[in-house]
């Protein structure tokens, strides 16, 4: 898979793992402090200070909250890692959009940008490479983050079309003079996914049209 994914795919994989591991480390740091706090409370109790059961319960609740958050992060990472299992499979585009937006949250937070996803009313499924589609969405989000200003929102949505699926990325506050051209790797991925990609400056909207099915095996093997 490494050879097939190429440098761009590996960079994407690396960027996601770096972000996720950072998130997990933050949760571990909090749990570590919670354990330390419990040790402090026991130590103070040993010195004659009364133990407050409500305080202990709050710490326990807080530990549960951190564990639930960390579990959610790991589940996302696991689902992401499994996207490389198959080169072509029926993929729920709206789910992949949501998953990529979740994984890009830290990158967006660092730039004070919000990434929102509008869920589609009907399921949108195409036969594609989930990994490369996520890679494409990630690159578009990343480019959009660089383009729009702080405190702005990127809105992601998708809908079923006759030929497959249409995926929209709206940059509500991109300035008219902003450079909204997309890097070479976006075009390469769009080509790989047999997708048609276009930017509509008047609407500040990027549209990615995906076919119902790609010939992923043949195309990716030739990379």
């Amino acid at each position: 898979m490494v050879d097939l994914a190429g440098k761009g795919g590996l960079e994407f994989f690396g960027a996601v793992i770096t972000s996720v591991s950072h998130e997990i480390k933050n949760r571990m740091a909090i749990v570590n402090e919670q354990a330390g706090l419990l040790a402090d409370l026991i130590h103070m109790h040993g010195q004659g200070r009364e133990m407050d059961p409500e305080r202990l319960m709050r710490v326990a609740d807080s530990v549960r909250k951190q564990v639930a958050t960390a579990d959610g992060i790991i589940k996302k990472m696991n689902r992401f890692a499994h996207t490389v299992d198959t080169l072509r499979q029926p993929a729920a585009v709206d789910e992949l959009l949501g998953m990529t937006a979740d994984l890009a949250k830290r990158m967006a937070d660092m730039h004070r940008v919000t990434v929102d996803v509008h869920s589609s009313q009907t399921p949108v499924t195409v036969n594609t490479s989930p990994f490369f589609l996520m890679n494409l969405i990630w690159l578009c989000i990343s480019r959009a983050i660089q383009t729009i200003g702080k405190e702005q929102t990127i809105l992601l949505s998708c809908e079923k079309t006759e030929d497959g699926a249409s995926l929209w990325l709206d940059m509500t506050e991109a300035g008219d003079g902003d450079d909204t051209s997309f890097p070479e790797d976006v075009s390469a991925l769009a080509d790989l996914l047999e997708a048609h990609i276009a930017f509509h400056p008047e609407k500040k909207r990027l549209i990615i049209n995906l076919p119902m099915e790609i010939r992923a095996h043949e195309r990716i093997s030739r990379r």
Partner: protein, 161 residues
Amino acid sequence: MSVSAVGEQTNILKMEGENMAEKVLLVDDEEDFLEIMSERLTSREMVVTTSTSASQAIEDIGKDMYDAVILDLQMPGMDGLEALKQMKEKRPELQIILLSGHGTMEKGVEAIKLGAMDFLEKPADLEVISEKIKRAKEKKMLIVDEMNQEKVVDMLRRYGV
């Protein structure tokens, strides 16, 4: 103010600094982390202020004096290294300890080059952090002492003594 009065004032400041609890500014965008760290350091007789953003922390150091700043490396808006740079420009004597969730030392080396006192990886041991805060206070007092001495020498020169 006479020369002896300046000397007395310097000594008073020094004694106050020696007797007072360590004043710490904790900067991290994780509120849960700030809350517990703050509680634990306070129970160790430290005076703790918290800030959830780098820009707020830069304002805070302009309003109050701190013995140490514990600064998260990755925060929304402004990252820790940029915050470190701006803090050192504003208060060169400030002792800043960076905390990071990064697994590599690359950023740590950069932070030390920019004037950070130390760099710790999360999760960090609070006893280690407490020790570093105490050392930060001593280091800051030495720097402030030197700055006061320079002021006294400058004043003596101006009075022609």
